[in-house]
Symmetry: C2
Subunit: 199 residues, 2 copies
DNA sequence: TGAGTTCATTGACCTATGTTATCCTTTGCT
DNA sequence: AGCAAAGGATAACATAGGTCAATGAACTCA
């Protein structure tokens, strides 16, 4: 079970068995049921979650009750309300399970202790952060210059594993459009494809 | 001139005169003219830029020539094509001056040398990165759930100094709408305000 | 000073997306 | 099996924002 995690770390830093064990000793294994909430608005967020199996979502609920999904989390991803996590402010997002899931909970304070003992873990998370930063940057760029159809197609290309397992209305929410619009887009794409196949 | 920079650092970490001098010794002062380009697509990006005075923009140019602005940079901000900077990939953005500007150029390799000598600078940039990450996160959230009028009003509130000095069509570009739309939005807001004042 | 450039605004029109309501299928539960 | 809930599609209509074209003000610079 922890093999995937070890690989995950070793794509960025080299670690010994002992260092890996020390890292694992900070983690709390949690088994979660579909729809279970890990973080709700207002919570103090002291942990981030590494997904072993299943699928999570981080989403914001607006005053009128609409939800917009900021992040999906499947196997090998980290999920949290990172604004609250980094800034020690009350959560503005919710994090919940789309499927039954198994996650490893990593406490922030324990992590900072670990940074002092084994600095290479600080390096690991700094590099993860730059990657996440760049990913957000290009998501903003997509939002600025691409239409919904293109954004949907690129989402399917970039995250085929997510597209296949989460309902369309959640994808719509992530893309910033309504489910009805996504439905229209998918119909349009299917028709396009059909007419190509006929020709 | 470097006083502002020192304050900028000291909002996050404490540093001695000597440490500050060592940091400054890495920096190259550059005076730039309006419209001058610091980074163009395809460049290798080895530096980030701290703005002493003036105003920069980081923008993407799409195939059909449309530009979308990802970031403005005024006094006390860092600007670059961060994707290229962090990943050592060719620049996809351009960075140019909206006004005559003075910047301090910080070379990535020299910075990494400095990290080894004085680790607290690594801490400084890691914290700056978390702040930037959170800012991008909330920009995405705004894009998902707010209409253009709201986004414009919040932009004016959040960045009054930018709103006052860059042309409206650049603000429109940053917000992901066309200048004509922003013009209509501004008209609508002015009318609303007028009718409130009359009442 | 005068011509060119940049920028903002406006109007007419068009298109993509949102809204509301309804219907149908699938899935899950007991 | 039978019912409820979830998910998806669709249609009619409304609206925000994009497109295109024209105008004029303000600024720049030779």
């Amino acid at each position: 079970m922890y093999k995937v995690l070890r690989k995950h770390l070793e794509r960025v830093i080299e670690i010994s068995d002992q260092e890996f064990d020390e890292f694992c000793s900070l983690l709390v294994l949690r088994k979660l049921r579909r729809k279970e909430l890990l973080i709700r608005p207002g919570d103090r967020v002291t942990s981030e979650f590494y997904v072993i199996s299943g699928c999570l979502q981080a989403f914001h609920t607006s005053e009128n009750g609409d939800q917009s999904i900021l992040q999906f989390g499947i196997e090998d991803w980290w999920v949290s309300d990172f604004e609250a996590f980094f800034n020690d402010t009350p959560a503005r997002l919710s994090v919940s399970c789309i499927e039954d899931s198994t996650v490893l909970e990593l406490n922030k304070e324990m992590l900072e202790e670990l940074y002092k003992r084994i600095p290479k873990f600080e390096r690991f998370f700094r590099i993860k952060l730059t990657k996440a930063f760049v990913a957000l940057y290009s998501r903003i760029q997509n939002g600025l210059e691409k239409n919904s159809t293109t954004r949907y197609l690129e989402f399917c290309e970039t995250y085929p594993h997510i597209e296949q397992r989460v309902p369309n209305y959640k994808i719509a929410s992530y893309l910033g459009i309504k489910p009805e619009s996504l439905s229209r887009i998918r119909k349009e794409l299917a028709e396009r494809e059909a007419s190509i196949n006929k020709a």
